[in-house]
Amino acid sequence: MNRDIFQAIADPTRRAIIALIALQAMTPNAIAENFHTTRQAVSKHLRILTECELVTQEHRGREIYYSLEIDKMKEIDEWLEQYRKIWETRYEQLDTLLTELKQKEKQERKI
């Protein structure tokens, strides 16, 4: 598990940036147009995302395009998915218990 990934996705602006560049590679200017923050702030977020290896840079002419490293995102997904499964298994047992409790209540009302 790469701990840095969690720092990358902890910030709401960074999550929004991730969502944007998941669709297509974008320049910092194009990304900044989608936010009310300064271009500098967006650059700072991009630097953190780059350091966490969640995004990669590609030079095209004078422009730098940022794109998402899908495989890195999958690491987070897998990690959360494992955690989610543990809860879901418990919750399925809770479903069974609740069905039973509801039936019991019904029977008691009849009596």
């Binding site: 598990m1 701990r3 969690f6 720092q7 996705i9 902890a10 990690w79 959360l80 998915e81 494992q82 955690y83 989610r84 499964k85 543990i86 809860w87 879901e88 298994t89 418990r90 919750y91 399925e92 047992q93 809770l94 479903d95 069974t96 218990l97 609740l98 069905t99 409790l101 509801k102 209540e105």
Partner: protein, 170 residues
């Protein structure tokens, strides 16, 4: 039921949400009464729950402990109740007790807030776990808890797959 959702709302938090087809007062009981709690938290295949003590009043303590059928290894959670709003909310501290799984974790307790919201006879349960630090949170998942249980969930997945082929899903 729609499966549970897990997300990371901030650096130190984990949020798990799930809806249940029952009124809040029944779901509440399943969280408050040790005998009922044991039924859904202590029936994971491969694990027994030898300790399930709960005094769910403000200032009260709880102690949950699980034991592996396979090798007898144990781990658990303990904590203190901070806030109780009947049928709506419970807040408690939580400290991971590594038992003999051999994994030590940060000593600072996490804060667990469980909220129950009823609508149209369904109850949404949101569990927010706030760790003392980001490091604590990341470690909590990287270590014992998930590792120790993963094997068993795999086994459960297999069992569930078998059950699904045998019986129609109700």
């Amino acid at each position: 039921m729609k499966p549970a959702e897990a997300s990371l709302p901030s650096e130190t938090d984990v949020l798990v949400q799930r809806s249940f087809d029952a009124p809040a007062k029944l779901v509440w009981r399943a969280y408050m009464e040790p005998d009922l709690m044991r039924r859904w938290c202590g029936s994971t295949p491969g694990w027994s729950m030898p300790v399930c003590e709960m005094d769910m009043r403000v200032g009260g303590q709880y102690r949950w402990r699980w034991r592996s059928d396979e090798n007898g290894q144990e781990f658990g959670f303990t904590g203190e109740v901070l806030e109780v709003v009947p049928h709506a909310k419970i807040v408690h501290t939580q400290i991971f007790d590594p038992g003999d799984l051999g994994v030590s974790m940060g000593g600072e307790p996490s804060i667990v807030t469980v909220t129950f919201q009823e609508a149209d006879g369904m109850t949404n349960v949101a569990t927010l776990i706030k760790y003392a630090s980001k490091t604590d949170r990341d470690e909590a998942f990287a270590t014992g808890m998930t590792e120790g249980m993963e094997m068993n969930y795999k086994r459960l997945d297999e069992e569930l797959a078998v059950m699904k082929t045998r019986a129609p899903v109700v």
